[in-house]
């Protein structure tokens, strides 16, 4: 499903990261682990098309996204990739339900009310549909962002430290949601983490070492 080859990335001419190849078959969860500054988030953003690699290729399904234009990459990401971040970024002026509707609208594929309700129900927050993000706890907000990421049934889910600011219970919920999604939708899930709780649950991982200068 996801296959990267020979990726490298240089930050403004000083630090160069060379990444081991990352392969994640459909239906599986892969962790990217490593010390701070090893380039975990950089690798994830390369895969998401948010940065362009200096060398190497990224293939997602049949698409080589490292060769897409910016706009094509935006649209591909909107349609095929779901992203979850360490901090639950939600649009503060919109209700929970509207936050979920926003993504599909941005890619010109409006989601049905039923689909949004189902996505919220799958994270146990169907009753928070009309609440504003500020009224939700950190754990609830993170579950909303996962519902949002999974709403469009993306083939690839990229999560950056999704459990770093969550307690054990919420961590278990989030890990369960991602694992179940990978299995049910035959999607590839890549999680960047240094969270030991996730490492025990998902043994398959690649480990990054500190950058070569």
């Amino acid at each position: 499903m996801l296959h990267t080859q020979g990726l490298s990335y240089t930050y403004s001419g000083s630090v160069t990261f060379r990444f081991p190849d990352l392969i994640c078959p459909a239906g599986e969860v892969r962790l990217i682990t490593g010390a701070s500054g090893a380039g975990k988030t950089t690798l994830l953003h390369l895969v998401a098309g948010l940065r362009r690699p200096d060398t190497g290729t990224i293939r997602i399904g049949e698409e080589t996204i490292s060769s897409l234009s910016d706009r094509q990459a935006d649209l591909f990401r909107g349609a095929k990739i779901g992203m979850v971040f360490q901090r639950p970024h939600l649009v503060g002026s919109l209700r929970v339900g509207e936050n979920l509707r926003l993504g599909p609208w941005l890619t010109h594929r409006p989601a049905s009310v039923a689909a949004i309700q189902a996505a919220l129900a799958s994270v146990g927050l169907a009753h928070k549909d009309r609440a504003y993000p500020a009224a939700l706890s950190q754990g609830e907000q993170q579950r909303v962002t996962i519902a949002r990421a999974l709403l469009t049934t993306p083939a690839l889910v990229l999560a950056d430290e999704p459990t770093a600011s969550l307690d054990d219970d919420n961590t278990e919920v989030v890990a369960g949601l991602l694992a179940r999604y990978a299995a049910e939708q035959q999607a590839a899930v890549v999680i960047v983490t240094h969270d030991a709780r996730l490492k025990t649950r998902f043994p398959a991982h690649i480990s990054l070492t500190a950058a070569a200068v």
């Binding site: 988030t41 950089t42 953003h45 998401a48 948010l50 940065r51 706009r71 935006d74 649209l75 990401r77 909107g78 349609a79 992203m83 971040f85 901090r87 970024h89 939600l90 649009v91 503060g92 002026s93 919109l94 509207e98 509707r101 926003l102 993504g103 609208w105 941005l106 890619t107 409006p110 949002r148 950056d160």
Partner: protein
């Protein structure tokens, strides 16, 4: 979900900042628009009333005061002139028509003007109902005076001494015999009667006046030929105890010099507030950028193009401009209505409240331009937004 709605929600998300910008925009638009309305209408009123009056003759004093009192019915007269002097002047060969005006009384603030039928004819005031006065103590009311006073044909009333006095002349009732149609000129605000009515009211009151001492207040004169402008006013001013004033000269001094200064100063202040409104919009949009950066980056991650977010921010400023503009236009109308209720009633003027000026359209375009400039820089930041870094740092 659409751009208009999303931007509206973003405006509401920071209600105080939005309110500040809205207030500034409304205030500036309201101020400029109010002054536009006032300027336009005062100018119209001034020009409408002056029509066909080449010269005003009255007692010595300020020429502007003479014009204001005799033509516009706002200031006090400069004094009275003996009727026989006025009569002898009226037959001057250069004068086509001389309409006498006699002041002295009012009824509940509306001036009672003694004159001849030539006055309503000159002001193009047709009789709406009833008839014009034919003898002393009969009055024909201007349309606004009749409506405000609630008087109808056959009603009688007692006048009060002076132009705003309250001392009632109980012995001499006036009788309403007719009501004029609305003209939009000062006639609407007057109570017209025969010149002799005022002599009758005051004869018993003061007692000392005889027929030789009868006086009027002013003559509205129209010339046979424009040549008279060069000789007659000067002759009157230098050789007689009367004063001749040229309305067009006095009004152009007032409207042409004083009024624009007042209006332009006010509009200048209004436009300065408009600029401040623009700065306020800019500051609130720009200062929110840092806070919103993750939100904007997130929308990019979810597939939003840069152009979409660019328009989102412009539309937020657009909301403030549109709402502020509507608020300002309404404020200006409220202001005109308020002026009608207070100041203008004293001067017996009524301004048109629901009038739309093309200049206000221009004002709207100017506002949109300012809003666009205010939002441009914050919106441009969308193109420089580093999604990866913004989301990794946050």
């Amino acid at each position: 979900m659409n751009l208009i709605l999303l931007s509206w929600r973003n405006v509401l998300y920071r209600p105080l900042e939005a309110l500040l910008s809205l207030l500034l925009i409304s205030l500036s638009v309201g101020m400029v628009s109010l002054l536009l309305l006032l300027g336009r209408q005062l100018e119209g009123q001034f020009l409408r009333n002056i029509k066909g009056i080449d010269m005003v003759v009255g007692a010595k004093g300020s020429p502007l005061q003479l014009i204001l009192s005799a033509v516009y019915q706002i200031d006090n007269p400069t004094g009275n002139i003996p009727k026989r002097v006025a009569d002898s002047l009226a037959v001057h060969p250069m004068i086509r028509q001389a309409i006498p005006l006699a002041y002295g009384d009012n009824y509940l603030g509306f001036r009672i003007v003694g004159t001849t039928h030539a006055y309503p004819a000159h002001m193009e005031a047709a009789v709406g109902s009833g008839r014009l006065w034919n003898q002393a103590m009969e009055v024909t009311l201007g349309a606004t005076a009749a409506a405000t006073l609630g008087l109808g044909i056959g009603d009688t009333f007692y006048s009060q001494h002076g132009l705003d006095g309250e001392e009632t002349h109980e012995a001499h009732p006036f009788e309403v015999v007719g009501i004029l149609g609305a003209t939009g000129s000062v006639v609407d605000q007057l109570i017209l009667t025969d010149v002799s009515s005022l002599w009758e009211v005051h004869a018993s009151h003061e007692g000392e006046e005889d027929t030789t001492g009868r006086a009027i207040t002013a003559l509205l004169v129209s010339f046979r030929s424009p040549m008279a402008f060069f000789s007659l006013p000067r002759a009157i001013n230098e050789a007689t105890a009367l004063q001749a004033a040229i309305p067009s000269a006095e009004v152009s001094r007032l409207v042409g010099q004083l009024l624009p200064v007042v209006l332009n100063t006010g509009q200048g202040i209004g436009l300065a507030i408009l600029l401040m409104a623009g700065v306020s919009m800019f500051v609130s949009l720009y200062s929110r950028l840092r806070e919103r950066a993750p939100e904007l980056a997130l929308m990019r991650v979810m597939g939003a193009s840069r152009g979409r977010l660019f328009w989102l921010i412009l539309t937020e400023a657009g909301w403030l401009c549109v709402l502020g503009y509507l608020g300002g236009i309404c404020l200006a109308r409220l202001g005109v209505a308020g002026l009608n209720a207070t100041v203008m009633r004293r001067y017996h003027y009524a301004l048109e409240v629901w009038q739309w000026l093309p200049e206000e359209g221009l004002l709207g375009l100017l506002l949109l331009g300012i809003g666009f400039l205010a939002a441009l820089l914050p919106a441009m930041a969308v193109f420089r937004l580093n999604i990866s870094q913004t989301l990794a740092d946050a």
